[in-house]
């Protein structure tokens, strides 16, 4: 089953195919793109014209040693001011247009990724850490945004500026242009090298900051342990080490900055010196006017930024292509769970469940379930027992099709789950997971997540059966209390009870409970077990559990061992039989 693992972890796309796809996305914004490029061209032309006007003003109106007529200065100044005003408007439009392209493409990529995330199979989430999945749709998008938004247009503009200024300067004095250009290539190289060196280091700094977070997290969450054992000094030392790690990484970054940033400030001095020295001599010889001398200085200083920009953009392009390559690989390479080509529908009425010679293994690993046969009658409540790691959760996860069996079939209401439209299947199978997941919305919305139009009386009934009524009304805003980090943090047991109530509200005909009361204290559990049975009547229920008291809900218990069902029967009979079930729970009874 190695293809299974590959299908959720496709290799990154190469540079060229990635670039083609990025261009494709860029073309969706072609109007803005063309507009920005037009502005760029105008901006370049004006930026070259203004220094020429200054040169004219100096040579014809100020320092007229070489002309008889002093021309009035004001037309030049008026033209300069007018062009500057035009340039302001054009520059605003160019910046805003390119930025909008970037912002839109960032939002678009994020939307595509999120859409895909919602469809990816469980195997994808087994394979990739949450942090990685998250950062691909957040931080990893920034290089893409800046490259495709700002970088592409700025790069083209930089090239236009260099060519335009080069032509103007070469027309005035080709030799001086050559001398003056000496410092320009190094500026681009320094900028590129800097970007190239500093981005991995700043990632390191982030990683070290993550270490600090981890150490802080541990100490704060485990503070009772720390204080109880009087081990404050040890955690301080540990935290201090992590903090030291951030410091060294930050200093390494400062070192790289100190090696490159001053270069960007002072390298242009070489060009200025060249113009003053060679240009000055030419002025003395009479080969160059003082106005042209100023033209050289001004245009050269104007080239510094475009050259830096080219350096940044080259580095940015690499990072953008790398991270876009990863994103496109996910978008194109991962298949969502396929809906059946010829869907069949579930029959009305209570649904039975049947596992037929079902084997299952997580991508490439050993079989967790082995040719398991297991039937649950419509309306029957069955407890699935077994020690940790016996495959209970894997068995339950096959029902809502989080996974498909590697061989054999899972039938719900007599229909293979793979033939039922996914939405229909999942609407008919309600699930309570081992670690309950609640969303950061009001309690009310958490309860009705499975059926939004549920009648409020039904919800309250479910809350009573699941024991939510014991704490729900006492929350600050009752059932409208916001749950989660920004609201109220419920205890593990409370979360489980909400999850249970949610599953009851969903009104599904099959209910799958994976150790639903493990975090509920024993007294409460005892109360709930009595109420749950009637609430579940008429539905087909599979409940996995470690506790004998929860088994009491069930009509029948089965024991899972080594991927097979090894025992089945009424709990009381199984206890008497002294088989695997009695081994799992027997001591509890003896103890009583």
């Amino acid at each position: 089953m190695s293809t299974y693992a590959n299908s959720v972890d496709p290799p990154d796309l190469g540079m060229l195919p990635t670039f083609r796809r990025l261009l494709h996305i860029w073309r969706e914004q072609w109007r803005l793109g063309v507009f920005a490029l037009t502005c760029s061209l105008l901006y370049t032309l004006i930026s070259i014209t203004i220094p020429i006007l200054i040169q004219r003003a100096i040579d014809h109106s100020i320092d007229i040693s070489r002309h008889e007529h002093r021309q009035p200065l004001w037309p030049y100044l008026a033209a300069i001011a007018g062009l500057a005003a035009c340039r302001f408007i054009i520059n605003f439009n160019r910046r805003f247009a390119t930025a909008r392209i970037g912002v839109r493409i960032e939002a678009r990529m994020r939307e595509l990724l999120y859409q895909a995330y919602l469809r990816y199979p469980r195997a994808f989430y087994d394979r990739h850490a949450t942090g990685q999945v998250l950062s691909r749709a957040t931080n990893d998008l920034y290089p893409i945004r800046y490259f495709i938004g700002w970088g592409l247009v700025q790069g083209i503009q930089s090239v236009m500026m260099i060519i335009g200024a080069g032509i103007v300067l070469a027309l005035v004095d080709p030799q001086l242009t050559l001398y003056a250009a000496v410092s320009l290539p190094p500026i681009g190289i320094v900028a590129y090298r800097f970007g190239h060196l500093v981005s991995p280091i700043s990632r390191q700094v982030q990683a070290r900051k993550g270490d600090v977070t981890e150490a802080a997290d541990e100490a704060v969450v485990g503070i009772e342990m720390v204080q109880a054992f009087g081990r404050e000094d040890d955690v301080r030392e540990r935290f201090g080490d992590r903090a030291q790690g951030v410091r060294s990484a930050a200093l390494r970054q400062a070192t790289v900055e100190s090696q490159h940033v001053p270069g960007l400030y002072y390298l242009p001095a070489l060009s200025i010196a060249a113009v003053v020295f060679f240009g000055g001599r030419a002025v003395i010889e009479g080969d160059l006017t003082i106005g042209n001398f100023v033209l050289f200085e001004t245009l050269l200083l104007q080239l510094v930024w475009p050259l830096e920009a080219i350096g940044w953009i080259l580095d940015l392009a690499q990072r953008a292509l790398a991270s876009a390559g990863r994103s496109f690989a996910w978008l194109e390479g991962i298949e969502p769970l396929p809906d059946p080509a010829n869907p069949r529908h579930l029959p009305p009425g209570p649904l039975g469940v049947r596992f037929e010679r079902v084997s299952f293994a997580y991508g490439g690993e050993v079989d967790v379930l082995r040719e398991l046969d297991f039937v649950v009658q419509p309306g029957e409540i069955v407890a699935v027992c077994g020690s940790t790691g016996s495959g209970k959760t894997s068995l339950l996860n096959l029902l809502p099709r989080f996974y498909d069996p590697t061989s054999g079939r899972v039938l719900v209401g007599g229909v293979d789950t793979r033939d039922v439209p996914i939405a229909e299947l999942r609407a008919s199978v309600a699930l309570v997971t081992q670690r309950p997941v609640l969303f950061s919305v009001p309690l009310r919305d958490n309860l009705t997540a499975g059926r939004e139009d549920a009648d409020w009386d039904e919800v309250l009934a479910a809350c009573e059966a699941a024991g939510v009524d014991a704490f729900g009304p006492t929350l600050p805003d009752g059932y409208d209390t916001l749950i989660g980090e920004r609201g109220v943090n419920l205890s593990g047991g409370q979360r489980q009870r909400v999850a249970l109530a949610r599953a009851l509200v969903a009104g599904a005909r099959v209910v799958v409970l994976d150790d639903p009361l493990s975090a509920v204290d024993t007294l409460t559990e005892r109360r709930l077990v009595g109420r749950l049975r009637p609430a579940l009547s008429g539905r087909t229920v599979l409940v996995a559990t470690q506790r004998l008291s929860t088994v009491e809900i069930a009509d029948r218990a089965v024991v899972l061992l080594d991927g097979r069902i090894v025992e089945s029967g009424k709990p009381a009979e199984l206890l008497r039989a002294g088989g695997p079930f009695a081994t799992l729970f027997g001591d509890e009874v003896v103890a009583a």
Partner: protein, 577 residues
């Protein structure tokens, strides 16, 4: 940011030196242009090639010096900044570990952690990256103005005409862009939270067919973020071209007045040209400072929040002259203890006495004060009235550390630190030898758990102990308590939540652990309660019944009613069996 000043202690001289270096850097940038002026007037216009060569050479030396000074400035300021940051971080952390559990129960863990991390990081960003920009530009701006005045005071005055609009513009930009950036961060945080929540809860999202709803919520957040990004970009797109525009206007003004002065013979052409470039040096710091401004604001806000933790007084601290405890016998006396978290007391005049080596069990429904009592024994809180005494010493009179080193605690949900299983056991006694750790592990059966994991005791525990069952985590925490060899032991519901086979292991481990120690057990399981010498039934902060198991079961009282509901008392099934 004032709170940072004291971390500068011992580095003030170096900080002053850095200001000098920054001044040198500014002098090199502005002085360079004054040299260019000299080269034009006394070299080019005067036709003196030798002078021109000399000045260009000096100019290059000055630029090289500026280069070095700036490199030194960046490195030096980062070193000082990081020293301050590490001082702040450590101080904050030390302070936190001294605060009582009350503080940690009142503040959300996430909030506290954010102070130690993202807030300190915000301060750090300003100190290591913002500082060089801040220092060099704060000096460069006046330096450029002064250089202009030196070049020609009349042209220098022009700079005062263009500076006010530029300053107003920068101020506007700082204010608006900061507010916009803060909002932008909120919106991207909302997007991130939405993605994080969906990814973490994807099983439920898919199981309940919630994809479309989540997509809609995400789209709204993503659009809001996009709109805000666009707005931020609009502000930037206005500001930088405006500064560029002002720069050209300033240059035109210089040209205009300069040409008049030049024609009247009171201004050299070199000064005129240099003034154009010096003016650009006035504008450049305005742009760069605007970038740092947001960072400064965030760091200031972060410092306020950090200070709120630093101002928190540790509630439990050693009294002056508190004596260290000698090795305890284990005599524990709870004397008329009253305690309240808020207004209403949780414990009402509880009294009992435990002889060294005895074992008491506390039973009762949750929320009636059992765990609070355990925490008073651990001196996580001090009683409002009455006293907790060990070997006759009031806990408030002894050195906290010396007491807690003789105390062992096993909690319901044992917390494991990242590291190996071995290092988690060693946590209680860092100087323990490997043999001692192994012995403790073997004594409670952790060695058997470890044997099936790769690496045995060297098996890496992931954060919070994920990957181990709660029973396995419990065994490790018992081994930890055993290694600490405490005289007094507190077990808070140490055996709930565990499957039966593991529980048997834990029961055996507890036998080892409890031997010869004074111990308090808070329990839900009959089998655990049974080992106690005496059982105290706690209800509403009072002891309502006490005695041995046999005595208590003999009478129709609270314990007998409770016994039916305790885990392990399985009346129906037991009857069936």
């Amino acid at each position: 940011m004032k709170g940072l000043w004291r971390y500068l202690e011992g580095r003030k001289l170096r900080a002053a030196l850095m200001v000098l270096v920054g001044a040198g850097n500014a002098a090199a940038q502005t002085g360079g242009w004054l040299l260019v002026r000299d080269a034009i007037d006394n070299g080019i216009v005067a036709g003196d090639k030798r002078h021109l060569t000399i000045i260009v050479a000096i100019y290059l030396v000055v630029a090289a010096a500026g280069w070095l000074l700036q490199a030194w400035l960046i490195r030096g300021l980062a070193a000082i900044g990081q020293a301050i940051v590490i001082g702040l971080r450590r101080n904050l952390f030390d302070h936190l570990t001294n605060l009582s559990l009350r503080y940690f129960s009142q503040q959300k863990a996430g909030w506290i952690i954010a102070r130690l991390t993202s807030d300190v990081d915000a301060v750090s960003d300003v100190l290591s990256q913002g500082m060089p920009t801040l220092v060099s530009n704060v000096i460069l701006l006046p330096a450029a103005v002064i250089a202009l005045l030196i070049a020609d005071w009349r042209l220098g005055l022009i700079s005062f005409a263009v500076l006010p609009p530029a300053l107003i513009l920068s101020r506007w930009f700082q204010r608006v862009s900061h507010a916009a950036n803060v909002e932008q961060r909120n919106r991207i945080a909302a997007v991130t939270a939405q993605i994080a929540e969906s990814v973490a809860g994807m099983a439920i999202v898919q199981a309940f067919n919630r994809e479309r709803r989540f997509q809609a919520e995400f789209d709204a957040l993503n659009d809001a973020n996009r709109a805000q990004s666009t707005y931020v970009q609009k502000i930037f797109s206005v500001f930088f071209p405006s500064i560029e525009f002002l720069g050209v206007l300033a240059m035109g003004t210089v040209l205009y007045f300069g040409s008049h002065l030049y024609q009247s013979g009171t201004l050299t052409i070199g000064t005129l040209i240099t003034a154009i470039y010096l003016l650009q040096l006035v504008f450049q710091p305005l742009q760069e400072l605007s970038d740092v401004y947001g960072q400064l604001q965030s760091a200031g806000a972060a410092m306020v929040k950090i200070a709120s933790i630093l101002d928190e007084e540790p509630e439990i601290r050693d009294r002056p002259g508190a004596e260290p405890l000698p090795r305890l016998e284990g005599d524990l006396d709870i004397d008329s203890v009253v305690f309240a978290y808020g207004k209403d007391p949780v414990l009402h005049e509880i009294s009992f006495h435990m002889a060294p080596g005895s074992c008491f069990a506390l039973v009762g429904e949750s929320g009636h004060g059992k765990s609070t009592l355990a925490r008073l024994i651990g001196r996580h809180y001090d009683p409002d009235e009455g006293a907790v005494r060990v070997d006759g010493h009031d806990l408030r009179d002894v050195q906290l550390r010396s007491y807690r080193r003789q105390l062992g605690v096993v909690l319901q949900d044992p917390f494991l630190f990242s590291g190996t299983i071995g290092s988690n056991i060693r946590f209680a006694k860092p100087d323990a030898t490997d043999e001692e750790v192994e012995a403790a592990a073997a004594a409670v059966g952790v060695d058997r758990v470890a044997a099936r994991l790769s690496g045995g005791l060297e098996h890496e525990v992931r954060e919070g102990g994920a990957g181990l069952s709660s029973g396995e985590r419990q065994l490790i925490s018992i081994a930890r308590a055993l290694l600490a060899d405490p005289r007094i032991l507190v077990l808070d519901e140490a055996t709930s939540n565990i499957d039966r086979p593991t529980e048997v292991l834990i029961e055996q481990a507890l036998d080892r652990l409890l031997r010869g120690r004074t111990s308090i057990i808070i329990a839900h399981r009959l089998s655990t309660v049974r080992r106690a010498d005496e059982i105290l039934v706690v209800e509403n902060g009072q002891i309502i019944q006490r005695g041995t198991e046999r005595e208590l079961l003999a009478v129709d009282g609270p314990f007998r009613r409770l016994a039916h509901t305790l885990d392990g008392g399985e009346p129906e099934l037991a009857a069936a069996g």
